[in-house]
Symmetry: C2
Subunit: 192 residues, 2 copies
Amino acid sequence: MARNVEFNESEAIQKAMEVFWEKGYNGTSLRDLTDAMKINSSSLYNTIGDKNELYIRCITHYTDLRRKDLQQRMSGKKRAFEILVEYVHDAIKVITDGRNGCMAIKAAFEMGANNGKVKQILKTDSELADQFLTSLISKAMQEGDIPREEEPRLIADFFNSTWTGWYESYILHKDADKIRKMGEYFIRQISK
Amino acid sequence: MARNVEFNESEAIQKAMEVFWEKGYNGTSLRDLTDAMKINSSSLYNTIGDKNELYIRCITHYTDLRRKDLQQRMSGKKRAFEILVEYVHDAIKVITDGRNGCMAIKAAFEMGANNGKVKQILKTDSELADQFLTSLISKAMQEGDIPREEEPRLIADFFNSTWTGWYESYILHKDADKIRKMGEYFIRQISK
DNA sequence: TTTTTTTTGAAACAATCATTTTAGAATAAC
DNA sequence: GTTATTCTAAAATGATTGTTTCAAAAAAAA
């Protein structure tokens, strides 16, 4: 006995995510969002909620995409070291192609300290990436491609950190070659 | 034939910097600023300028402090490797003590892509840190404390990147031990 | 077809935003 | 002490903020 929602919710979330991604939470106005989502603010508040809830949905969507990507990478039958190297190379590609950096990193620095819910989502996302890398490195050690001198978990943490800095470097210097060289250096370092 | 400015400008900039540092550019209102600086907005606009100019002044102040710190570190008569290790340890302390992360990094992710002037200041700051590290690493190689296998510049870039990620890690995980272990790992890696 | 429920679009909302104006207070130079 | 100039405080500015209201439109159930 009622009308249906007209707009496609997941498409709208995708659009909102792109705006938040580019402008950050505080840099984005409700009008920016409703313009991109092509819906009225009343519809937004009816179905999704306020600005903060929408942001949570967007960040969640972003980390969901990442989780799926990691799962796909794990599913193949390649050697762990090969998956690892591929992951590093793809990370470099994403950094040097994209204009907006990584939404999760931007969110961590903008909201991490002040918004508990956002922080929790990002923390879980970070832990997932850590687990992915840790198990890969661990496997690569078993397969003899990485020396066993260091804790896999430590190397995983270290890569995740380094990777964040590559984003900053590319924002400031726009030097793709620099990022590539750091990637090669990292692979060289863990291999020896 | 006129009245003097009542407030201490550099103290006011310091206070403004602290607010921007914590809340970011878009998260800070003019009231936040004038409250912290304890001046009226008309005084602010008369002497310093608008919000954007004030921010530029704050970021510049921040990077000035950093430059002075680096100069001091270089001035001693210690071995380069020792200065380097000290720098890493101090970086870890700053990360795990502070609540707000690094203002330059936050600024890079919030403003870097959209504000040319801010970007330029941060770029110069980053290059300075790179030069500092590059010359230290180079000297440490001459002194036999670091193998000559890699380009000093590359290792410097790599450390600067990693260091950025430590901030993110600490925001999300608040795990000081994790940061310390990554620091030790880095020193171990460049030494071998 | 009518009823009932929900969504939608447009307008309205108060609050806050960055910025400016205005009038008076302060002080250096004369 | 007067004058000239600049500063400060408070209020006003119009624009924009996030959010809500309300009447009309839509459509599923009766």
